[in-house]
């Protein structure tokens, strides 16, 4: 295939990015010249300078578009980019770790999308290798070539001769090897959205907006509003509070629903591919052989609703979003069906979890004690700071101490009841942690564990307790899973199990 430019619409995207940058620079120039008392004296020069910024932005966008070309060949993808510093990326299909596709809502009628390609090379989000705006057929073709290359790599005995000799980019039919996709049930997604704690930041944002109201509204309007609020009856305050909470709940609910709308997990022999989103359609994939661990997450609320979220840890970057190296496999699945649903997808998963070795009463007490000490420290520093800078609030904070300390006890108690570990067989480790009222269950194949550490302080030695640290690879870094205050014998047994095979 000959070298091609991006879709013409990409010019608009580049223009938007460049003009946005020019706008921020112009605001900076405006502010700085004002600060240095130059704006009034040299206003013509400032105006010309700001105008020049926008002209440069337009030229930059045009040049960037012109210089960005790509070529799809039989062996890989080649991208040329850069105006002054020319860059050439050559990506053989075999080296591609993941192909992530994102289709923003305004791209959909035009059948365009953004394709991000992850390789084993360390790339940060901003500089990831991207085709900013290409037709969907290009994304389909790259995804198909990636899948073929992975199949050949994982199972070289299976000759996939059809692979990649035809570089004509045409609409790609679904491969027959794809198993039926798993879709998140609407009922479960609804429950998941309703139990989202996304309401907390939204309510905080609403409270902040009210606080900032005095700045944005003019004096008369603000006086009128504050005068009205000052005469509120208790029931009116209650109504206001309930309205804020309902508004927060609705916003949080809609956000979750649009984010995970039509969440689909497609399974091929080599890859797992997830697709989701109402406004922005996102697609990310992961090679099955790159899966390092499976993680089941539940907040305390979702524990009551018996719902779980499933993520997988990957040895490669999954893409520019989706937690980068932790692919969200299923945002929600009923707890009692999680393993049954996933076992056909990830064949090393068990059908049933083993009973875990849980913490002793002494260990639970240690977790409660640690939490109380930590919270006590935070509250002491906060109260000290307030006593110094804002003594008026000190009384309220001191009065709330018992509440926070009860919360600290509950937090420790929760963690103590969740922590646990067990080996299922010669090849699988199960770890369970509970922090900040969130339970996480990790299923880790022994072959993917990088190191196991047992930590024990001299005080823990007396009570025969130890922390178990399991080091896992996550993207290009580490994910350390720590199960605290396990019986020392169990921690040592797990370390021995790890080394024995």
């Amino acid at each position: 295939m000959k070298t091609k430019h991006l879709s013409a619409w990409a010019l608009l995207q580049f223009l938007y990015e460049s003009v946005q940058m020019a706008f921020f620079l112009a605001v900076g120039v405006f502010w700085l010249t004002g600060l240095l008392h130059l704006r009034d004296r040299y206003w013509q020069a400032v105006l010309v300078g700001m105008g020049a910024l926008f002209v440069v932005a337009v030229v930059d966008a045009g040049l960037r578009y012109w210089c960005f070309t790509y070529q799809i060949t039989a062996t890989g993808l080649t991208i040329h980019e850069g105006i002054i510093f020319r860059e050439v990326h050559h990506l053989p299909y075999r080296q591609i770790q993941a192909v992530q596709r994102q289709q923003r809502w305004f791209m959909r009628p035009l059948h365009l999308e953004q394709v991000t390609i992850a390789t084993a090379e360390r790339v940060d989000d901003e500089d990831g290798i991207k085709l900013p705006l290409v037709t969907q057929t290009v994304g389909d073709y790259l995804a198909q070539q990636h899948a073929i290359a992975v199949t050949m790599k994982d199972r070289p005995d299976e000759a996939v001769e059809a692979a990649a000799v035809d570089t004509k980019v045409e609409p790609v039919a679904a491969t027959s090897a794809t198993s039926p996709a798993i879709e998140v049930a609407w009922h479960d997604l609804n429950l998941y959205a309703l139990s989202s704690i996304g309401i907390i930041p939204i309510v905080i944002a609403l409270i902040w907006l009210v606080g900032e109201g005095s700045r944005w509204l003019n004096g008369h309007t603000w006086d009128m509003v504050s005068g009205l609020v000052a005469h509120f009856e208790p029931w009116e305050w209650g109504l206001l509070l309930v309205s804020v909470v309902i508004l927060g709940l609705v916003a949080s609910y809609l956000n979750v629903i649009q984010k995970y709308y039509h969440f689909t997990l497609a399974v091929t022999p080599a890859n797992l591919t997830v697709t989701h989103g109402f406004f922005d359609r996102n697609q990310a994939n992961i090679r099955r052989t790159k899966i390092q661990a499976v993680k089941f997450k539940q907040t305390v609320l979702r524990q009551w609703l018996h719902l779980m979220t499933v993520q997988v840890l990957s040895a490669s970057q999954v893409g520019a979003s989706d937690d980068d190296d932790q692919l969200l496999l299923l945002p929600v699945v009923p707890q009692n069906q999680a393993l049954a649903v996933l076992q056909p997808v990830i064949d090393w998963l068990p059908t049933k979890l083993p009973p875990l070795t849980n913490l002793t009463g002494r260990a639970k007490f240690a977790l409660i004690r640690n939490n109380v000490i930590a919270w006590f420290g935070v509250l002491a520093v906060l109260s000290g700071g307030l006593a110094w800078w804002r003594p008026v609030f000190l009384k309220w904070v001191l009065m709330s101490w018992p509440l926070w300390l009860v919360l600290a006890c509950l937090q420790g108690w929760y963690a103590g009841h969740q922590m646990g570990a067990a080996t299922l067989n010669a090849d699988l480790l199960v770890l369970q942690t509970g922090t900040w009222f969130r339970r996480q269950v990790w299923l880790v194949p022994r072959a993917k564990v990088q190191a196991v550490g047992v930590h024990q302080s001299i005080w823990m030695a007396r009570t025969n307790l130890a922390h178990l640290n399991v080091s896992l690879r996550s993207g290009n870094g580490e994910e350390l899973v720590e199960v605290r205050y396990l019986p020392a014998v169990t921690a040592q047994q797990i370390q021995a199990w790890y080394l024995a095979h």
Partner: protein
Amino acid sequence: MTQQLPVTIKKVWLSSAIISGLVDLVITAALWGAQSIWHWWWWLPLAALILSILDVVVELALIPYRYAFWRYAITENEVSIRHGVIFKQTIAIPISRIQNVTLNAGPLLQLNHLQAVSIATAADSYDIDGVTPTVANQLREKIMQLAQVSVDEN
């Protein structure tokens, strides 16, 4: 069989504790200066001085224990590292997970003719604080040889 670090490592830790103490004293002096010139809180340099003294005293006092507890072992299947006085850590790394072994030596290690050995897995790296250059090279050779055998077998 477990190995102990060479006894000269104690000199490195001693020098390190003294340097750390000197840095703490410089910070304390800066805070004292700030208190004299800009009338910062009076207790700030005092607290810094107490913490500096505590830091050095604890570091120095722990050196014999730190030395006594530091152990490493390299077998055909694993590298294990055990260290820590108050907080003891035992780390096990199978040879097959080792990606790379790096030898490095800062000025203090060089002065004492020692090298640190850094053993990297795909997730993190683990250090043997200091061994003689001969032992360091032997360790690197041995670990990489075993790692290669392990890769070939798999």
